[in-house]
């Protein structure tokens, strides 16, 4: 297959662009100075400070619970909805509603949910952030999966139905495997967006159970310190390790191709 050479330019530009600030923050996390601008020498002291920071630890756990919970919910609901909209509905209205959360500014959704929880007199907790993140996560999953469904070959599904398979058998045996790359991409998006989401979380989280972005936001009130760079570096290292491990162990590769 031909791959035009010229395309490699933007390809590598993308990665250089995405990773330049990452390199900066990793380097700065080993800074012995506390200035974010000048590198004074190598030091691990910020990692030591980080290790003793209980707020960060709790925030991290809360964030993981929220991200995993909302990704699972959003992926399940979003995939079903995408298939439902493509195969069981002709309603333009429903199509529109399903993309709405992606169209809404986070602040509007956040305040809307704050008012909603207040109106039904719900006590906020981690669950309220999970539910909130599921709203936008689901829109992204639905949209990405529908991209995959669009123009896709429906003859197999029709054949399956004609042979008397229930919609569910057809779904699990035929549709789902075809959609796998879209579902994985959508879930990856939902997880990525949840793990670093600040605005909606700050309105829907219980004040005493903040997620990590909320904790970090309060730490950078006086500017970024190398401790926060150390935290960002650790997060990267851990997610990188997890991804590599997952790839080795579960043949993630196959589901993506």
């Amino acid at each position: 297959m031909r791959r035009p050479r010229l395309m490699y330019v933007p390809f590598w530009m993308t990665y250089v662009f995405l990773y330049t600030p990452i390199v900066v923050l990793v380097v700065m996390s080993f800074n012995s100075d506390d200035s974010p601008y000048t590198f004074g020498g190598f030091s691990l002291k910020w990692y030591g400070e980080l290790a003793s920071d209980a707020n960060v630890r709790e925030g991290l756990i809360n964030t993981l619970i929220v991200a995993v919970g909302s990704t699972v919910l959003a992926t399940a609901l979003g995939t079903l909805l995408a298939v439902g909209l493509a195969r069981h509905s002709r309603s333009r209205l429903l199509d529109a509603i399903s993309v709405m959360p992606a169209v809404l500014p986070d602040l509007v959704l956040g305040i809307g949910l704050l008012v909603f929880y207040a109106t039904i007199k719900a006590t906020l907790g981690l669950y309220s952030v999970v539910l909130a993140h599921t709203v936008f996560g689901m829109a992204f999953v639905t949209a990405v999966v529908r991209t995959r469904l669009a123009n896709s070959d429906t003859s197999l599904e029709e054949a399956s139905r004609d042979l008397g398979a229930t919609p569910f058998t057809t779904f699990f045996r035929i549709t789902l495997p075809q959609l796998a790359p879209g579902i994985v991409a959508g879930a990856l998006l939902a997880f990525t967006l949840s793990i670093d989401e600040f605005v909606i979380a700050s309105f829907t989280a219980a004040p005493l159970e903040p997620t990590l972005p909320i904790v970090i936001y309060s730490m950078v009130r006086f500017g970024v310190t190398p401790e926060i760079n150390a935290l960002a570096t650790l997060l990267l290292a851990v997610s990188f390790t997890v991804v590599i491990a997952a790839q080795r162990m579960t043949r993630l590769t196959e589901s993506l191709s």
Partner: protein, 375 residues
């Protein structure tokens, strides 16, 4: 997505509007909690001074780094009650949460003076019961003369200070003395100056340079302030509320509008000055929420904060002035000598104009800030 024709989205909007109108017809009482109710004094239920505090707990919301980290342990050993500390980054966020109508579970919140005033106007605050806070006696007499709450009826001041110019002594030729030095910076400071973004402080330098009141409501004066701010805009590096200290340390900026406590005067080349035209007086306060179920414990907590040792922590650690005479008197003189802002006396502070909530006229300042940043 290709099957979605985008014309389909319009009905969604129509439906949302329809739903909204339907809800608005009956939404009245649902979210009515923020409607203005007569101020706190109307319903000062009696609190029991002998309540068993060990059966209560206190949840507070405060700015990060604003109270000692071991405060919960101290409160537990001293008062025997559990203290839970939540953090808010800005007045705006905690105001949104407190006024949205849900029970936040907070007993005490730390907010700035004009926000305490607004919360009180909304009927969300418990009046302060002075008989439960004997340590109020530690406060300077001036601390009872604050314009947004004379006599501390619904708020207790925690820290106070003013706004001025924080600058690099090694990078400006002549030390700034006037707000005009920021609005029209000398050549060496051109494009190396920042002003604050929050509307009242965004307007402050121009207001004071023109000799107006920080609480002006006059359209004419606000228009002149706007013209002055727009004139200054091309000469600025940017607007910054949070990281001006870093910008100053790195030399990216040489002169910034700053709250006194945020000016890193511990650095050897950084100094703070209150411009000759005068400035404001800001106060960060503690308030007890009406929704609190632990009001006695909340008062006991505030009383404990006013203890010179605890209150002095704020002055010594975050270098904010506290309105507590006993606490200020016990500060290490060397620390005071090294940090000019700590030397300001209460009467000097009171020369600054206290910022009050302007009620319906406060939207004029929001509009002013939008106009300045949109141009």
């Amino acid at each position: 997505m290709s099957r979605i024709r985008y014309t389909r989205r319009f009905p969604a909007a129509v439906m949302v509007v329809g739903l909204a109108l339907a809800a608005s017809a009956c939404g009245g009482e649902a979210a009515d909690t923020t409607a203005a109710v007569p101020a706190a004094s109307a319903s000062s239920a009696q609190l029991n001074p002998n309540a068993d505090l060990s059966k209560q707990s206190v949840a507070i919301s405060v700015w990060p780094g604003y109270t000692p980290e071991d405060l919960p342990a101290k409160v537990k050993s001293k008062l025997g009650l559990d203290l839970k500390v939540a953090l808010h980054d800005t007045n705006e966020i905690i105001m949104a949460k407190l006024t949205a109508g849900s029970d936040t579970g907070f007993d005490v919140a730390f907010v700035s003076g004009q926000y305490a005033q607004a919360l009180n106007e909304a009927g969300l605050l418990e009046p302060i019961h002075p008989e439960l806070i004997p340590n109020l006696a530690n406060l300077y007499p001036e601390a009872k003369e604050l314009a947004y709450d004379k006599g501390n009826t619904f708020s207790v001041p925690y820290t106070w200070g003013t706004t001025g110019i924080c600058y690099r002594t090694d990078l400006v030729k002549t030390p700034p003395t006037s707000w005009n030095d920021i609005l029209d910076p000398p050549a060496e400071a051109l494009k190396k100056v920042t002003m604050m973004t929050t509307e009242r402080w965004l307007a402050l330098p121009a207001i004071k340079a023109l000799g107006y009141s920080v609480n002006t409501k006059s359209d004419d004066e606000i228009a002149k302030v706007k013209a002055k701010l727009l004139e200054a805009k091309p000469k600025l590096l940017g607007y910054d509320d949070t990281t001006f200290g870093d910008k100053l340390k790195s030399g990216e900026a040489v002169m910034v509008e700053a709250w006194d406590g945020w000016c890193p005067t511990t650095e050897k080349n950084i100094k703070f000055v209150v411009p000759k035209e005068g400035s404001d007086l800001w106060v960060d306060t503690m308030v007890v929420l009406k929704s609190s179920k632990n009001k006695e414990a909340a008062h006991a907590f505030i009383n404990y904060i006013l203890d010179p040792e605890i209150h002095g922590w704020a002055a010594e650690t975050i270098l904010y002035k506290v309105p507590n005479k006993a606490a200020m008197d016990s500060i290490d003189p060397a620390l005071k000598a090294a940090n000019a802002p700590l030397q300001m006396t209460p009467s000097q502070l009171l020369e600054g104009e206290s910022i009050v909530d302007l009620g319906e006229d406060s939207v004029k300042f929001t509009r002013l800030a939008t106009e300045v940043s949109a141009k």
